[in-house]
Assembly symmetry: C2
Homo-oligomer: 405 residues x 2
């Protein structure tokens, strides 16, 4: 059996994701699709709209065969670390190919860019250092260095292109035999916040429309499959909320206000005196949005600050971030019958332990951070939902999806 | 002018407190009564029912002339440290006497006990060590050592007697010229939870009856002066709540669940593997009461565990506790006209700076903990009440109470 890997957040799963999934199957003729999916917190530093279990259900409904968790320590990171963790998991699962969405749908510019960069690393680093000195953000510095090298024909101001580039780079760096592929994204751009297409909209615009409540669900239904709608309805009726940063702001504020500056400084991403800005701004901030607006600068992008806040909320330290090298386990969240067959074939040759029972992970340092993320994620629920939701994390076996025929 | 010092929590101010205040005035013929009062968290590790400002108003209404704050680092401590901080503040304010409530109303047994203890310190310490080895709590060990020494005629199982003894001991240890006095407590015992007297009831029973809401206020009105009732009503209508541990449990749970064991171990009072018990019990606990019940042992009393939880909630570390030696400032919360006159007389000879504007304290390490306590205390309010209440802490000048004539 041939497996293709995809790297996803499904926050929530929508028609654009379905298109990517279908195109991936066509393009690669794989027998099995493996999705590496972020858990409670996502790459841009946001809490996931609904739990990993609800999103795993969406993925399996859509035809994904295996869903494995990208641990927090890789998931809530810049593109490079994010890609490195995801690629390592897919490599450990013996994926033959990876297929990501890009603006152009052409893989060659990505491969060429990675090759060139490796040859001209020093020059590239120098350009980045120079760019950073002008006070711009790290992503902007990368884009600028990129232009100055005039390497390849990829628009690296597009987040999806940066991720694609990072996947190809990680494959190369890890000497993986995975073949990178890309399919062209359909319609709507990553950050689009308007509905300009009849059935395709970005996850960002969908979340924004929902804005934490079920009331606008009808408005987004043209853009999501029926099983996503059903999963969202079910989640809301059980947990009473969709998760968004504003719900966590009371906890974040409590945390920052009871930390001293030197403690704040030990948190991941809190650099260059950010601790003072945080401590000062938090006193007056009544909402998360107000808080981020008041500390945002040219240097610190919204995403970067949001990620820093996720680290503070989940107590993720610089020390732990520095210790993050590569995945230590493959945590299975869900599988189809087909995915199960695939696992039976590759099971003996997996290079990382396959975990179906999280209780066995309790002493793992990567999972330690996962537990903290779960604790923070469920902290907004009233009791007894909170206690139950926390225990679900440890007790839920992988979802086994049997198609009705 | 002659000043007498009293050490209070007024949580809330009730008829028993008024009796103590009146008896103190009669007994000492002082011209000025100075109360040292705990702030947001109290000696038994509980959040104060209402803010320090509301309780200062009660004290001034009752006829106290000066209210100064006992900082968190002394207030949420065992009797010895609590007394040491309070006595040092009253000494700095040039009180001639201290007058506390006791079961017998006789001062000699207290003085005799302190004298004897100083002479037989080694023997006493040995008895305590032996008692602790049997697995009982520290307060119980003290009581047992006490009995074995057969020193004096004080029942040290009574919390108020332990406090009284600690005041006399602190006066002696600090070589203070303060004369200790005591008045007999009226009716109801400290821990009484029933209403067995027509107009006297313990603060504990009053809080229990209120249990966080205004609805039972009428039921407690026989036991409190009208100004207490008024202050409680006003507080509730402004802030929408009376404070109690259960309201803070969601925050405490979030905090403990996102801390690793070694971090928990750095918190004040977390000794002897308590961190493991805490981490284990917190997962299943849905209420504060459940949580404490599940970790309580013969060794760890409810009070001790509650105090430990206050330290975790406010992020008070072992290191900070060890650094706590003596007060660094006198923070004025309120004064009467008479109190103001007294301050004008003693102002120049105060041995500690008198602080009327908390903003001036921002770099003080004792006040650093006060800020954390305020942040935790106000964290249960919705916005914008939370932000306003936090700012009040820094912006509120001492309450100046002018009696209408």
């Amino acid at each position: 059996m041939k497996a293709v890997g995809i790297i996803v957040e499904y926050n929530p799963f929508h028609n654009g994701h379905l298109y990517h999934l279908e195109e991936t199957k066509k393009k690669t003729s794989a027998d099995c699709v493996i999705a590496v999916m972020s858990g409670n917190f996502l790459q841009r530093g946001e809490p996931a709209l609904v739990s990993k279990w609800a999103r795993t259900n969406m993925a399996l409904s859509a035809g994904v065969d295996l869903v494995v968790e990208l641990p927090y320590v890789f998931a809530v990171q810049s593109a490079e670390m994010f890609a490195s963790g995801a690629v390592a998991l897919l490599d450990a699962l013996h994926c033959a190919e990876i297929c990501f969405g890009s603006e152009s749908g052409e893989i060659d510019p990505f491969i060429e860019a990675v090759h060139t960069l490796q040859k001209r690393q020093q020059e590239y680093d120098m350009h980045i250092q120079q760019a950073l000195k002008t006070g711009i953000s790290y992503p902007q510095a990368i884009t600028r260095a990129w232009k100055q090298l005039q390497i390849a024909d990829i628009d690296l101001t597009k987040p999806n292109n940066i991720l694609g580039f990072s996947y190809v780079k990680a494959i190369k760096e890890q000497n993986s035999s995975i073949i990178p592929r890309t399919v062209q994204r359909i319609a709507s751009g990553y950050h689009d916040e308007t509905f300009s297409h009849p059935f395709i909209a970005s996850a960002t615009s969908l979340r924004k429309t929902l804005s934490g409540s079920i009331e606008q669900l009808e408005h987004i239904s043209p853009y999501i499959p029926s099983y996503t709608k059903h999963a969202l309805e079910q989640y809301y009726s059980t947990y009473g909320t969709f998760h968004e940063w504003e719900h966590y702001f009371p906890l974040l504020k409590y945390r920052i206000m009871t930390m001293e500056e030197n403690e704040l400084q030990r948190m991941a991403n809190v650099d260059e005196g950010l601790e003072y800005r945080f401590k000062q701004a938090i006193v007056e901030a009544e909402t998360f949005s107000q808080f981020i607006h008041s500390i945002k600068t040219k240097r610190y992008t919204w995403t970067r600050l949001q990620r820093t806040c996720a680290h503070i909320l989940t107590n993720f330290t610089k020390e732990q971030m520095a210790a993050t090298k590569k995945p230590a386990y493959i945590r299975l969240l869900g599988m189809s019958e087909n995915g199960r067959r695939y696992l039976q074939i590759v099971k003996k040759k997996l290079s990382l332990p396959l975990i179906t029972n999280a209780a066995r992970l309790h002493s793992d340092y990567i999972y330690e951070q996962e537990k903290k993320a779960v604790a923070a994620y469920t902290a907004i629920f009233p009791e007894p939902i909170r206690t139950n939701a926390t225990k679900e994390e440890y007790a839920t076996p992988p979802i086994y999806w049997r198609a009705c025929k």
